[in-house]
């Protein structure tokens, strides 16, 4: 603020000084011209002519100031009564105060600038010019400058205060919002100004961050709720198994059996917990360390190879169709697990269908198609089965934790398989979607392709699993 006022004062001062200088120069030039003119008159007509001209000019209104005195100092002609004290005896010009002849007693003394001009014959001619107006102008300029500085200062201070107050108020809003959030209301957001300025952008990204936190918190709450509800069932089962074994009168043999079953039950619970923890950690965005370039075709090949005997045993055929030369920026382990979960699901539900479904058309029922293809900027891994599928209205829900759709209650599993796939997809910036395979389910894991390597994806169809199967 101080710097602003100083700068303004400097500018105004400079302008005033320059203007004054310019005008003064102008006056001096006029005087010099006049003096030259009068000198010519004197040379042409002598002292009489000079005196006549001075007298004539003096009488004109608004004229310059003249005084012609003789050697004795008496006035010969002119509109000044006496030589201004400041100029007496001076050989150079200067500033003086004067009162016009015949106006004594009335007007106040005015400022003038004048030069003495010695004329041969003992005469002295003083030519001057009134600079009172100039003087006033300079004074007015000074005043104006002073006032502008005061005004500028006031406006500057005012504007500064207003701006900083508005900034402080907006910061205060952020502080207030964050206090409310800390108090427990995670749904609070910082109101936007709508101007799209830096503050709005800061608020926007803070809001986005809050949104993400709220999402994570909601997910966390959901997990703990689900743990409370859904883990009670297996825990109850485990407890009653142990209790029943203890009550059994058959003795050690039944204890052994009961304990074995209890351990099996506990192992299932541990698996469920591990999956839950993994999902939670994936959703918290951990595991970034072990992400690197991987070939999805290799991952699919390996998973298919792992599951091929299981599928074959269940009378199913795995058909793999992969595009080559694609690269993912991913964690191999997690993508493998996601694909394994999808294949696992597909096998489970296909088996269910081949067992219960009507005979005939066995070939198409017992087929699981695993494909890898590029779709725009994404790489899509699809696992399609001929099982019962998932109704459109249930698809969203099927991805949530612990949700096991009514039809699948009979199947073993924790209900975490698809939510783990969804979490893996999200961690990699992708998504999972469930589609109708007409009939059956087509689960599509869509992951962003890592740019550079994905250029030429030659499509190579590997007919069924024979490349890694037996025979």
């Amino acid at each position: 603020m101080g710097a602003f006022v100083v700068a303004a004062a400097l500018i105004v001062g400079f302008i005033a000084w320059r203007a004054n200088d310019l005008l003064t120069n102008k006056v001096v030039e006029t005087l010099e011209a006049e003096v030259i003119g009068l000198r010519e008159q004197f040379q042409a007509g002598g002292a009489e002519r000079l005196a006549a001209i001075v007298a004539q000019r003096s009488s004109q209104p608004g004229s310059s100031l003249y005084l012609l005195v003789d050697a004795a100092g008496r006035k010969v002609a002119g509109n000044l009564d006496r030589a201004p004290p400041g100029l007496e005896g001076s050989r150079q010009g200067g500033v003086f105060n004067y009162v016009r002849a015949g106006e004594e007693g009335h007007g106040a003394a005015r400022h003038a600038v004048g030069v003495p001009l010695p004329v041969p014959g003992g005469l002295v001619l003083i030519v001057g010019r009134d600079i009172e107006d100039l003087h006033r102008f300079a004074g007015a300029m000074g005043q104006l400058g002073l006032w502008s500085i005061v005004l500028l200062g006031a406006v500057g201070i005012g504007a500064g205060l207003a701006i900083s107050r508005s900034v402080l108020r907006r910061i205060e809003v952020v502080t207030e919002t964050s206090r409310k959030i800390m108090a427990g209301d995670l749904s609070k957001r910082i109101p936007l100004h709508g101007s799209g300025d830096e503050f709005d952008r800061l608020s926007e990204s803070l809001n986005a961050m809050l949104g993400r936190i709220e999402e994570l918190m909601a997910a966390l709450r959901e997990v703990s709720d689900n743990i409370a509800h859904d883990l009670k069932t297996p825990l109850t089962r485990l407890r009653s198994r142990a209790e029943a074994a203890l009550r059994n009168p058959d003795g050690p043999a039944s204890y052994r059996d009961g304990l074995t079953k209890t351990i099996e039950e506990a192992d299932e619970l541990i698996k469920t917990f591990n999956s839950l923890l993994l999902i939670a950690r994936l959703e918290a965005g951990a595991v970034a360390e072990s992400i690197g370039p991987v070939d999805p075709a290799l991952i699919i090949g390996d998973v298919a190879e792992l599951y091929e005997p299981v599928a074959e045993e269940a009378g199913l055929r795995l058909e793999i169709s992969v595009a080559k030369g694609l690269t993912l920026e991913a964690n191999r382990e997690l993508i493998s697990q996601a694909v394994a979960n999808l294949v696992d699901n597909a096998i489970k539900y296909s088996v269910d269908e081949t067992m219960q479904g009507p005979a005939g058309d066995g070939a198409s029922r017992g087929r699981i198609a695993i494909s890898l293809a590029r779709a725009g900027k994404a790489i899509e891994i699809a696992v399609a089965d001929r099982g019962p599928g998932v109704a459109p209205q249930d698809r969203e829900r099927a991805l949530a934790r612990f949700v096991r759709l009514e039809k699948s209650r009979s199947q073993p599993g924790s209900g975490l398989g698809l939510s783990l796939v969804a979490a893996v997809a999200r961690l990699h910036g992708g998504s999972i979607r469930l589609e109708d395979n007409r009939p059956g389910l087509r689960a599509v894991l869509s992951l962003p392709a890592s740019g550079a390597h994905a250029a030429s994806a030659a499509r190579a169809t590997l007919s069924d699993a024979s490349n890694w199967g037996q025979r």
């Binding site: 074995t260 351990i263 192992d267 541990i270 698996k271 591990n274 923890l277 993994l278 950690r281 951990a286 595991v287 360390e289 072990s290 390996d302 190879e305 792992l306 599951y307 005997p309 299981v310 045993e313 964690n331 382990e333 997690l334 493998s336 697990q337 394994a340 979960n341 696992d344 096998i347 489970k348 073993p412 599993g413 398989g417 890694w468 199967g469 037996q470």
Partner: protein, 226 residues
């Protein structure tokens, strides 16, 4: 074999000590990292079981210190942290194997036995022989009673791993980790089917079965009667 258990939870440590003794192994306990490091420096142990979270000095730093001193005693790291990155960190610190809590005792036993009898890299055999089954690691040829057996690459690696640990229990997770390089748990028991397929190729038609299922634990290749 002599085992040192560095674990701060008394109950877990004593359970391990008792179980190891029942399995015919000697086990010493250390309750914190500093004490554990002092005992481990002794060098009398065949295997160290080190918990990751320890008072005074954490498990990874115990392992790092031992490795820095040139000790090559195999180390199994136990941890409640079982995520992808944690395992990598554990192995990078010098651990030889990593087991996530809670674990089955049979799993732990199988792993430390595999670790303790693990030959140094330079003395690994190029040919494994169990009874009349022979596997050549260089030519990738497998024969049973002199007859060649054709195996898929993965089946070969599966048999190779089992034969490398002849007479030892190999769990399903050990197979998944070492043969498939997966550290997750497939929901279906896919390994069992692979094993039964392998069994069909190496044991089918022979009076003497070499590939055995160990109930509640895993599999074992072994010559000789039960």
């Amino acid at each position: 074999m002599r085992v040192l258990v560095i674990e701060d939870d008394r109950e877990t440590a004593q359970f391990l000590q008792r179980s190891l003794r029942e399995s015919g192994h000697a086990a010493d306990l250390a309750g914190d990292g500093d004490h554990g490091l002092v005992l481990a420096r002794d060098g009398r142990y065949d295997v160290l079981i080190v918990d990751r979270m320890l008072p005074r000095r954490d498990g990874l730093s115990v392992v790092q210190a031992l490795r820095a001193e040139g000790a090559r005693t195999p180390v199994l790291i136990l941890s409640a942290l079982g995520e992808v990155d944690d395992r990598v960190k554990g192995l990078r610190a010098g651990g030889d194997d990593y087991l996530t809590k809670p674990y089955a005792y049979t799993e732990l036993l199988a792993r430390i036995e595999a670790l303790a009898r693990r030959p140094a890299p330079e003395e690994q055999a190029t040919r494994y022989i169990v009874g009349d089954l022979s596997l050549d690691r260089l030519s990738h040829k497998v024969t049973r009673a002199g007859e060649p057996i054709l195996l898929q690459p993965r089946e070969f690696r599966l048999l190779e791993y089992l034969m490398k640990h002849t007479g030892q229990v190999v769990t399903r997770t050990m197979l998944l980790e070492n043969v498939w390089d997966y550290h997750f748990d497939p929901q279906t028991n896919v390994i069992d089917v692979h094993i039964s397929r392998l069994r069909g190729k190496i044991d089918k038609g022979f009076a003497k079965q070499l590939l055995h299922t160990v109930r509640g634990a895993g599999y074992m290749i072994r010559d000789g009667a039960d």
